[in-house]
Structures are given as C-alpha cells and as structure tokens.
Subunit: 462 residues, 2 copies
C-alpha cells in the first residue's frame, strides 16, 4: 500500500471539499427542529458510501433517525471488519462563542494545526473521523487493494443515546456479523503521540425538576416563608459531592474498578503537562476527587457534572420572583463494572430522598451506556498498533478515555466481537464546544492509517 | 362626601375601561425592547392626570424613564398630599403560564372576587392602584370637594430600582414639598380586613457570574478533572444558608431589629390560616428560618432568595458539556436598620471569598433600598384609619409587609415627611406572577376610600 500517500496527495482537495459539504448540514439529533437536516445527512452518507464502492447500501428505518448500512463482501472466507460511525452532531450552543458559524466550515491554521484545520460542528465528532473510513474504502476499492470484507453502520443518534441503534443491532446480528469493529470517535494524545483508546467511561444522563409553590411568587411577600425551588435545587446538587469531591450517593462506588499501583504507574507514563493543561483552559488550578491525578480523575474515576441548570428570571435586568420550578441536566460518567441503569436508579432514589418537605422532585432518565475496556493483546489491537507504527513511526500508547461511546459495550454483548478505537482527533479540537475543528493533518493521516489496519488485521487473522 | 358612591356607580364602566386601556401598554422597564411602550405609558399617565384636573402636568426627563408630575394647589395655607405611584410593570415571564395574554386585559370572576377582577400584568402592581388616585382626584375636582393641595409623582422605574427617581427627588425638594406622602403599592389582609402597611423590607439585588475553563468542555474528556462552574455555583449558593435556614454571611444580622415578645404577640393577632396558605400555594409544608412563624419570616426577618439561575445546555434533549460560565440573580430582603449598600458589600466580599481555586467570581450589584417603619400615632396614619373605618366599617390592622418600596425611606430622608401606605390589593392577586389581577371591588373601594383620607388628613392637620 505504498501508493496511498500519492493517492491522498492527488485527491486531497476533493477529500476536504467532500467533508466540508457534509459539515454544512446541521444534523443536530437533540433538537427536533433539525429533523429534515438529520435525514438529509443520512442520504448524503448513503451516496458517499455508494461512490466509495459499497454494495447494498441502504437507509435502515428505526423508531428514530435511520441507520445507514453498506457492505463490500469480496470473499466470505476472509475476515470482516464492521466500521461504525455517526452522522449526527451535538447542538452548537452557545452560538455566540463561535468565531465562525458552526455550519459554515472554514479552514484556518492554528499552532497545533500548521497545515490548517476545518472549523465546524461535527468536524471531528464524528463526521470528519467517520468520513476518513469512507475515503479509506474508496482508496482500497479504486486501487483494488481491499484485503477483506467490510461493513459500514453509520447512525444518527449517537449524541442522544443510540437507543434505536441498540434495537437495530439486536435485530440484525447476522447482517452485522463481523470479526472486529473499527471506530474512530476518540482522540489521540498528541500529533506526534499516536494512541489507541482501550477504555471508555459509561454514562448516565438525567434531568431533574424541583417544584415548589404552584406559581411564581413575589419574593418580597413570600421570600423566607416558602421553599424556593432554585435555592433547594442548589442545596440538593451541592450535597451530591462531599468535601473530597467524592460522590455522595449511597452505593455509587460499590462496583467501581480500583486500578492496581502498577496500572496507575503505567497510566502515569502518558505524556502530560499540568501547567500546559491549566494554561490551555486558562484556570488557576485543577479541581477534582482527592487522591487522584488529573488523568485518573477524567479516565478511571466516575464523575457527576451538571450540564445545564435553569429556573426563574434569566432575562435582562432584575425580577424579584420566587420561581415555581427549577431544572437541571446532570450526567454521571461511569467506569467499567458500574451498570448505568443501576446507577441511574441509585441517583433517582437518592435525589428524591433528599428533597425537603415543601417541594416535589421529578427525576427523568435521559439515556446512558456501559463503560468498556479492551485488551491490548487482541489481533485487532495488534493490527492497529502496527498500522500506526507504519504511518507515525511510533508504537501507539494504550489510553483510557474519559468519554463514553455507550454502544461499544452493546456491540460486544450482541455481536460478540471486540471494538478497536482508532481516534485521530486531539483533546484541543473542542468537540462539544464552540469552534470545534479537525486538523487536515489528522484527517489525512487517518485515511492513510486505516487501510493498513485492514492489511494487518487480515494478515494476523490467517 | 356621601355622594362618592353614586359618582362611582355612575362612572364605574368608564373607570374600568380607562384602566384596561392603560394595562394594554407593555411598560416593562427591565427589558429595553419595550422602551417605546414605557414612554407611551408615561404620556398616557400625563393625559389622565390632566383630565382628572391636575395643573402643570409635565413629563420630567431623567437619565432613565421619565417621571410624570402634576399638581393641584388650591390654597398654599392648606396641607399638601404627595401621591406616588409607578407606571412600569414587571416582566410577564413565564408567558406560558398565563391563562390570557398579560397585556390583553380580561375581566373574570373568581372565588375571592365575585364581582370580577381585571387580569393583566400591572393590574394591581401598580397601574391599578396608582389609577385609583387619579380617579379619586377626578371625583374631588369635578364635584369641587378637594379639601387640600395635591401633587402627583408617577415614575417608570420602580421595578428596576428607582435610581433616577432618587436623583429627581434630591434635585426637586421644593417642588415636591408636602405634609404627607400617600402610596397605594401594597396589599390588605383580606377583602373584609383592611390594613395599613407600617413596615417594609429593604432590598439588595445582585447578579453573580462564576467562570471556570475558558470554553465549554466535553464532560467526558474533562469531567471530574476541572471545576464545573455550575456545580461550584450550586455549592456556593447552598452554603449561604445554614441548617436552620439562617443566612451564612458574616455580619449579615448585626443590625437586624429584634422585635419584643409584645410586638410579636401583636403581629400574631393578624388573621392567618396556615392550612389555607399551604393550600393556596399547593405545598405540603412551609419552609424557612427556624424559630419564626410564617408571617414573621416574610415580614420582620431578612431573606436571601435566588430569583434566577442559568448555565450550560438548557435546550431540548441532552448535551454532555461542562459550561464555561454559570450565573444567578440573587436578592436579599432586609429589615429596618440593615443598610442595603453595606449588606451588598458584605455579600460581595463573602461570595468572592468562598470561591474555590479553579473558578473566578464576579458579583454585580443591581439595585437596592432601605427598609422602613412608620409610627401608628401620626396624623397620616390616623386619617387613613378613619377613612377605612368609613368605607369598610372596621378599624384597619397595622401590618408589616415583606415587600420593598425602596424609595419610601428615601422620601423620608430627602423630603422629611412620612409615607402612608394604603394598599387595596390581596396577596392572592399574583403580582410579579402569571395571571396578575386586581379585584373590581378593590379598585372601586380604593377610589371611594382615598378622598376620605384627604378629608380627615386636612381636618386633623388643623
């Protein structure tokens, strides 16, 4: 596959412009106002798979947004790789913090991306990383170098919990049969430090509602005499962490995997500079659970974060009101062995139990998923490692990610195969944030590395 | 003045329709989008004063919204009453909870208002109660029964702190010279229990901003490792009350007036039914400072309430983000002798001091005002008491209100005269809330009672 570089060089501009077109469609799955755009994106993905050489490409209906499926079966005797990605994106809020409109991609150079980066919502998560696989397939089919069978499954509900994908996978085990699952929806440590994600955190996402009086009240006439739902909500949320930032929910830590000294020492080898980290975020100090390092806090430890809070008067000026209701969106990142449904129940029971008289509390589970760990001695991991060695000249570092891809554990359970997470994004790519971007270098490096995974995985499978 | 009833009977429909027209103008002083409507309302008030017989009516410019001034001087030897009111209203949010549009007044009968009530923002606070005085003046001038001099001062910034009124009063002491100030911007205990407000709480209103990382972050990649501004804000706000709902700000209670057993016993005589109170608000229990009754908590004790809170993703669905900033609007109701500027400074110093490393905090004072107490042995109080006795057949009960009319203490300081608070609204009129209303009975009873105050005040002044 030594002509991959030249193929990329030759088609670079087209590779970029095709991705830019895909990024222009605001496929925000969380907001029903964008329904048509999400569906439009599914069609665009279907077309791109056909052009790349996939057969039997279809848009599979679900109770939510459709799943785009396509395959290229060259020989049933050869191994099959199932590529997963998602075409939906996070909401771009807060829009005002974007330097350019989130759905009008622009290419700009940055310190970390001297070759330029594409700025747009979804550039990295996950349209850009998903599209690397489409272009890698194009290369292998056009140059007749596809060494094994491949199946694509691209969904449109990853950012809202993939609940319909779960159903789809359960009902299509034969169709999705594979020897390894390949996903690019994570990051790597640095441009010159390739890494393979070997662990993911689980997730439990809930929304809480605290109701006090049956109507908004004048804070002068009622202030001090009735429970103020916002004050109560702050008290309840604050009580969820103790003075060591340990989570205060009975049973929450019961199944948490405690890593050995050796494992923690291994993790500590990953290059990390606390000063640069703080500088990049413009914070004076990091903050988290006592007794753990920053890299441990965001990878091997569970968390509880408020993702949104609202209640009362939030407009211009002042309104002296006691709101009838207050709300918060709260997510918990879970580590392997913590069951997200069990944790969601523990949260619900506890949160309802700490509500004082004078308010009523509703806890509405949004979605969730299990954590995941993959062994580094599998054929898949070895193939990925060799691929990176060829393109980066370095052995990739196995890395635990703090993020969640809930469906990975589902795949293992339903399809009985391991997932290899080859991420090419950087933490600084600001996924889920304003000014999300994806480096041209990373994009093309992914297209270059993926076919090598196919090659080595096929070889090692013999 | 025994023909006042017949005059009201004769002009009732017009009195109501004129008020309805005034209520149609959305004079929301807190929201600059309504600037023209606020100004339009000032013009409408000017016209109404002229029609009611006022001389020298003028719209006095300020750095904010104008103050409408008018007067009727019949004899410099006679006492002068200064009537104060405001033509601006609270924002109607949340609009969705209104049964009818806030600025399209409708008249509906309710259990408490069998003769009907006008539903609209400002119906009671304060357009309705202010307009009672305009109609009372009309009656006295038309029937040639005005017993003394009268001056009107109607402002458009009461709901946002009256800062420009303060300047106006300081600069116009001669013009505003008076023997007593008369205000209807409070309530009475019940339809059949007239009361005169003898105390008001002061106010300090601040907005706080907590900033963590310089951008929104992915809660998976950073969750647990950096301070989440929303979690921190909830912790900081929660810490402002102790387990007895005592406010946790050093020095906050230093100047709080402690009432004697006798005074508290006197207060306790006011008719109050806790079960009905809870039922009306649809709450299982009241909530407040340990050791005080509901009526004490909302009248003679200071409070700290969050009036609004926001941060992160508050839209539909789920977004796994750690927000860069979180905000809250917080107001403190103060009791006599607490200085609002001093309390604001105490809050600022304390709130900034409890911010953990990893976040920065800004405290922005909005506005405030002092508390107020008026003696019940003054001529003004006696005149008001007699007026109520004539129209309600009962001696009104002196009552401490939990609300704030910051300018009352300013009037005493600058104009050296006492204020009499003759309120005709009910707590259930939902001022500052959706479905604010004002009873037709209350509106007309006010118009009937006010001229009697003029009569008795003039008599007692001799």
């Amino acid at each position: 596959m030594n002509n991959i570089q030249s193929y990329i060089k030759e088609h670079k501009e087209r590779f970029i412009s095709e991705l830019v077109e895909l990024l222009k469609i605001p496929s925000i799955s969380a907001d029903s106002a964008y329904k048509n755009d999400v569906l439009k994106t599914a069609d665009a993905v279907k077309t791109s798979l056909e052009k790349a050489g996939c057969d039997n490409v279809e848009i599979c209906k679900t109770d939510g947004y459709p799943i785009v499926y396509g395959e290229k079966i060259i020989d049933k005797a050869l191994p099959t790789i199932l590529v997963y990605g998602h075409y939906d994106v996070q909401p771009p809020d807060p829009i005002s913090l974007w330097d350019s409109p989130p759905f009008e991609p622009v290419i700009k150079k940055t310190d970390l991306h001297p070759e330029g980066a594409i700025f747009a919502r979804g550039a990295c998560d996950d349209k850009g990383q998903m599209y690397m696989h489409v272009k890698a397939l194009e290369y292998m089919t056009v140059t007749n170098q596809l060494p094994c069978n491949v199946k694509f499954m691209v969904e449109g509900e990853e950012e809202v919990g993939s609940s319909n994908l779960a159903v789809f996978v359960k009902n299509n085990q034969e169709k999705l049969k594979n020897d390894v699952i390949l996903i690019s929806d994570t990051g790597m440590i640095a441009q010159d430090v390739p890494s393979i994600t070997t662990g993911l955190r689980g997730l439990s996402y809930v929304e809480v509602e605290v109701t006090g009086p049956n109507r908004d009240l004048h804070s002068g006439l009622y202030g001090g005499a009735v429970a103020n739902p916002i004050n109560i909500l702050t008290k309840m949320i604050a009580s969820l962490h103790d003075e060591n930032n340990h989570i205060n929910i009975p049973g929450f830590y019961d199944k948490v995997e405690e890593l050995s000294k050796e494992e923690r020492a291994e993790m500590a080898k990953a290059p990390f500079n606390l000063e640069n980290y703080k500088k990049a975020l413009d914070i004076e100090a990091v903050y988290g659970e006592t007794g753990y390092t920053t890299n441990e806090r965001n990878a091997i430890r569970p968390t509880l974060d408020v993702n949104g809070i609202w209640g009362g008067y939030t407009g211009e000026g002042a309104k002296t009101v006691i709101a009838s209701k207050a709300f918060a969106k709260i997510s918990m990142r879970l580590v392997p062995h913590q069951d997200w449904e069990e944790i969601t129940q523990l949260f619900k029971t506890h949160f309802e139990s700490i509500a004082p008289k004078g308010v009523t509390v509703k806890v509405k589970p949004h979605h969730g998923g299990q954590g995941y760990v993959t062994p580094i001695d599998s054929i898949g991991y070895q193939a990925a490692s060799k691929a990176y060695q060829d393109t980066f000249g370095k052995t990739p570092i196995p890395q635990r990610s703090g993020g969640s891809i809930p469906i990975v554990s589902l795949f293992e359970q339903e399809l009985k195969s391991k997932t290899i997470l080859m991420g090419f994004g950087l933490d600084s790519d600001a996924i889920h944030s304003p000014n999300e971007h994806f480096g041209i270098f990373n994009y093309l490096k992914g297209i270059e590395t993926i076919p090598l995974f196919y090659k080595y995985f096929t070889k090692l499978s013999k």
